[in-house]
C-alpha cells in the first residue's frame, strides 16, 4: 500500500490506528460493522447458492464490503445510490428485501427481482459499465434545480473509467457543479485486465484534475476511510462545492464472477497477500482494540446476519417462477401495445417449457449448453 492512500484503521501492529472520523459514535461504529457483516453474509451465501445451482452466475464482492457500507454510512436517507452489479446488495442496507436481490440473480423479474428506486433512493443494479454515472449526475442536478440538498453517489470499477460515459458524467458533474460522489472501487482488475493495462496513470484519483474536481485516494479495505472521504465529499457537494472523485484502492480478492477463473490470468498468491487486509475482520479487530465490541458481540452480530440471510433465501425460494405474462408487464407505464396481447395469446396456445433452473438449462437436441458466461 503506497503512502498517499488515506486510512483510519491500522493493522494493530506497526501501522497505527488513526482517530475515529468525526461524528461517528461508538453506536455508529457498531451499526457500520453490522452492515459489513450483513453484506458479507449475503455475499458468501449467494456464492454458495450459485454453486448449488439455486441462483445463476453471481458477481461476488467479497472484500469490498467496506467500499459499500462505509460510503453509505455517510449518506443522508434522501441521498440516492447508484450501484453497479458489484454493489448488487447495497439496496439491502436501504431496506430492499435481500430476497429481492437474490431473486434478481435467480433470474426473476418484475416485483420479484426489482424494487421501486424511489422507495429506497437506490437505483437498479446497473450492468452496462459506467452507464449509470450520467443518471447519478442528472439526479443530483435535478435536486440542485429544485434547491433540495440531495446528493447522489455512484459506484463503479477501475475498468469503468475507460468508458466514454464515465468521462461525460464527470464533465457534466463538474460543469454544473452537482453534488455527485464518484466512488471508484479500484480493485485493480476488470475481469482479466489488470489496472496497468486499463489506463496509463498510476492512480484513478489523479484523473479528477481533468475535471477541476477534487480527487482523493483511500484504502478501500478500510470502511472508515471510505466513510470519511465520502462524508467530506457529500458535505462539499451539498454546500455547492460540486462533485468529488474518490478512489478506494483495494484488490479484487475473489473471482470476477462465479463463472470466472482468475487462475487463467493472475497469480493467486497475490490475492492471498491482499486478503489479510479485508475489511470485515479488520473492522472487527479495530473495534476489539477500541473495546467497543467484544467477542460475544461479534458472534451475535454474525449470527443475526446469518439468520436474516437464511430467512431471505427461504423467501426467495418460496417465490414461484413468474408466469409468462410477466414478459409483458411494465414495459410501458402508459398504454399497452396490441402486440403484447397477441404475444401472450400466442404463448398461451403452446405448452409452457419446464421451469428454468438457473444453471441447468434444459438439455435437448437444440437448445444449448453454452457455458455460463464470465461477464456479469
Amino acid at each position: 500500500m503506497t503512502a498517499e492512500v488515506l486510512y483510519v484503521i491500522g493493522d494493530g501492529a506497526g501501522v497505527p490506528d488513526n482517530d475515529v472520523p468525526e461524528g461517528l459514535s461508538n453506536k455508529d461504529l457498531v451499526a457500520l460493522y453490522r452492515r459489513l457483516v450483513l453484506l458479507r453474509t449475503f455475499d458468501e451465501r449467494a456464492v454458495a447458492l450459485q454453486r448449488q445451482g439455486r441462483i445463476g452466475t453471481y458477481a461476488l464482492y467479497w472484500g469490498e464490503e467496506g467500499t459499500q457500507a462505509g460510503p453509505l454510512y455517510a449518506c443522508d436517507d434522501r441521498d440516492w445510490l447508484f450501484p453497479s452489479y458489484r454493489q448488487n446488495a447495497i439496496g439491502v442496507l436501504r431496506g430492499v428485501a435481500p430476497s429481492t436481490v437474490l431473486a434478481w440473480w435467480r433470474g426473476y423479474g418484475g416485483r420479484h427481482g426489482f424494487w421501486n428506486p424511489r422507495e429506497h433512493r437506490t437505483a437498479p443494479i446497473c450492468v452496462p459499465i459506467a452507464t449509470h454515472l450520467p443518471h447519478a449526475v442528472g439526479l443530483a442536478w435535478a435536486a440542485k434545480i429544485r434547491r433540495e440538498p440531495v446528493a447522489s453517489i455512484a459506484w463503479f470499477g477501475d475498468g469503468a473509467t475507460s468508458e466514454g460515459d464515465w468521462h461525460e458524467a464527470m464533465n457534466f458533474a463538474s460543469v454544473f457543479k452537482v453534488a455527485t460522489v464518484f466512488f471508484c472501487v479500484n480493485n485493480q482488475w476488470a475481469i482479466s485486465t489488470p489496472f496497468s493495462k486499463q489506463t496509463a496513470t498510476e492512480t484513478i484519483s489523479e484523473k479528477a484534475a481533468a475535471y477541476a474536481m477534487p480527487g482523493v485516494r483511500v484504502d478501500g479495505f478500510d470502511p472508515l476511510a471510505c466513510y470519511a472521504a465520502t462524508s467530506q465529499a457529500l458535505e462539499r457537494g451539498r454546500n455547492g462545492g460540486g462533485p468529488t472523485l474518490i478512489e478506494a484502492f483495494c484488490y479484487r480478492l475473489g473471482a470476477h464472477g462465479t463463472a470466472d477463473d482468475p487462475k487463467l490470468y493472475r497469480d493467486e498468491s497475490e490475492a492471498q497477500r491482499w486478503r489479510t487486509l479485508e475489511p470485515v475482520n479488520r473492522m472487527a479487530s479495530y473495534l476489539l482494540r477500541l473495546g467497543v465490541l467484544d467477542d460475544d458481540d461479534l458472534q451475535s452480530i454474525g449470527a443475526e446476519a446469518k439468520k436474516t440471510i437464511a430467512q431471505a433465501v427461504h423467501e426467495m425460494e418460496a417465490i414461484a417462477q413468474p408466469g409468462r405474462e410477466i414478459l409483458f408487464d411494465h414495459v410501458y407505464a402508459s398504454g399497452r401495445p396490441w402486440s403484447f396481447d397477441e404475444g401472450l395469446a400466442e404463448l398461451q396456445g403452446t405448452d409452457r417449457p419446464p421451469a428454468v433452473k438457473p444453471l441447468a438449462p434444459q438439455p435437448g437436441p437444440s437448445t444449448g449448453d453454452a457455458e455460463a458466461p464470465a461477464g456479469t
Binding site: 426489482f114 424511489r118 437498479p124 452496462p128 447519478a136 460515459d165 457534466f172 414495459v331
Partner: protein
C-alpha cells in the same frame, strides 16, 4: 412547425415546472433550428440548459433527472448525432420502467430533427427512426403538421414513457398552419394522454382505391401524389399519416388497407427492415385476403444518404410515389 413546437414547449413549461429542456445550443440561441427560442428568457437557466457537447451525457442525465421526478426534454442537434446517445436510450431509457416494476419509467422526450432535403453536409440527413422502433420499451412518434407537432410534443412530454420524438426538419418551415392556443386534452395530467394524442394514425386524405401509409416529411409528398393520381387518372388514394411509429396503429392500418384493397408504404429511411417492412408484413398477415395486390414500398435506398447535390435522387419524390402507386394499382 417550428413555431408550433415552440408553442407546445412554452405551454407545457408554463403549466408544469417539472419540464426542463436541455441540449447543445438550445438556450442562449434557441437551438440550431430555433425550436427552443425564447425559452431561456421565459423560464430561466435552471430549466433551459445549454450542455457540453456529449449526447450520452445529455440523454443519461435526462434519465437521472426523470428519476428525481422531472420531465426532461433533450434535444439532439441532428439525426446522426443521436448515435453517441444510443446506448443510453437502448439500455436505460427503454428499460427503466421494466426494471422498476413500472414505478420509474424514464419519463424523457428525445427530440430529433431528422431527414434530408435541407442541403446539409454529411450526417445531417439520417432517418434513424426504425432503429428506435425495433427497441422494445420506447415510443416513437413523428408529426407532419404544425397542429400535430404541438399536440404530440406536449403529450409526449406528459406521457410517462420515454418518447423518441422525430421532427421532420425538411418541413419545419414549409408547412405552416395556425395552431390554436387550445390543446385538445388537459395539460395537467398524463391520464390517457397516450390514447388521446399519441396512439392513433390520422387520415390525411380520403379515398377508396389505394391506401398510402406514411409519416413525417413524406406526408405532404404523398398528398401531392394523391392529388396527381386523382387528377390524372381518377384514382382516389387515402393517405394515412401514421404519427405513431411504435406502437403502430395496427387497426387503422389494416382497416384502411382492407377498405382500399391496395396499399403502399412510403418513407425516406432505408428500406431494409424499415417501418415499411413492418407495415407491409402486418397488412399481409392480417388482411391478405382483402388485397388485390401486394403492398408496395417507396423508400430511401439501402445506401448512405448521399451528399446533398444528389439528395433529391435519394428522397422519395412525388414522381416515385406516383410510380409506386401505379405499380400497385396495375398489379
Amino acid at each position: 412547425m417550428v413555431e408550433a413546437l415552440n408553442l407546445g414547449l412554452r405551454q407545457v413549461m408554463a403549466k408544469d415546472d417539472r419540464v426542463v429542456v436541455l441540449g447543445q445550443d438550445i438556450a442562449q440561441t434557441g437551438g440550431v433550428f430555433r425550436v427552443t427560442a425564447g425559452l431561456l428568457d421565459e423560464f430561466g437557466g435552471d430549466r433551459v440548459i445549454d450542455t457540453p457537447l456529449a449526447e450520452a451525457g445529455i440523454v443519461g442525465s435526462a434519465i437521472g433527472m426523470s428519476l428525481y421526478g422531472m420531465l426532461p426534454v433533450a434535444e439532439i442537434q441532428f439525426d446522426a448525432f443521436v448515435y453517441p446517445g444510443f446506448e443510453q436510450i437502448v439500455v436505460h431509457a427503454a428499460r427503466y420502467a421494466w426494471r422498476t416494476r413500472g414505478e420509474c419509467p424514464a419519463s424523457i422526450v428525445v427530440r430529433i430533427p431528422y431527414g434530408g432535403g435541407v442541403r446539409a453536409p454529411e450526417l445531417h440527413s439520417d432517418c434513424p427512426e426504425a432503429l428506435f422502433t425495433h427497441v422494445p420499451g420506447l415510443k416513437v412518434v413523428s408529426p407532419s403538421t404544425p397542429g400535430d407537432a404541438r399536440n404530440m410534443l406536449v403529450a409526449a412530454i406528459l406521457d410517462p414513457d420515454p418518447v423518441i420524438f422525430m421532427e421532420p426538419k425538411r418541413i419545419y418551415r414549409s408547412i405552416r398552419g395556425d395552431v390554436s392556443d387550445e390543446l385538445p386534452f388537459p395539460i395537467t395530467s398524463s391520464d390517457d394522454i397516450y390514447n388521446n394524442a399519441i396512439a392513433h394514425a390520422r387520415t390525411a386524405r380520403n379515398g377508396d382505391d389505394l391506401a398510402v401509409f406514411t409519416y413525417g416529411a413524406t406526408v405532404p409528398l404523398c398528398m401531392d401524389a394523391a392529388a396527381a393520381l386523382s387528377a390524372d387518372e381518377g384514382v382516389e388514394a387515402r393517405v394515412v399519416d401514421l404519427r405513431s411509429l411504435y406502437p403502430l396503429d395496427a387497426d387503422a392500418i389494416t382497416a384502411a388497407a382492407s377498405a382500399c384493397g391496395r396499399a403502399l408504404v412510403v418513407h425516406e429511411a432505408p428500406r431494409m427492415a424499415g417501418i415499411g417492412a413492418e407495415v407491409s408484413s402486418l397488412i399481409h398477415e392480417r388482411v391478405m385476403a382483402d388485397l388485390e395486390a401486394p403492398v408496395g414500398r417507396v423508400t430511401g435506398f439501402d445506401v448512405p444518404s448521399p451528399q446533398f447535390a444528389n439528395e433529391d435522387d435519394y428522397l422519395p419524390s412525388v414522381d416515385r410515389i406516383v410510380a409506386g402507386a401505379r405499380a400497385v394499382l396495375s398489379w
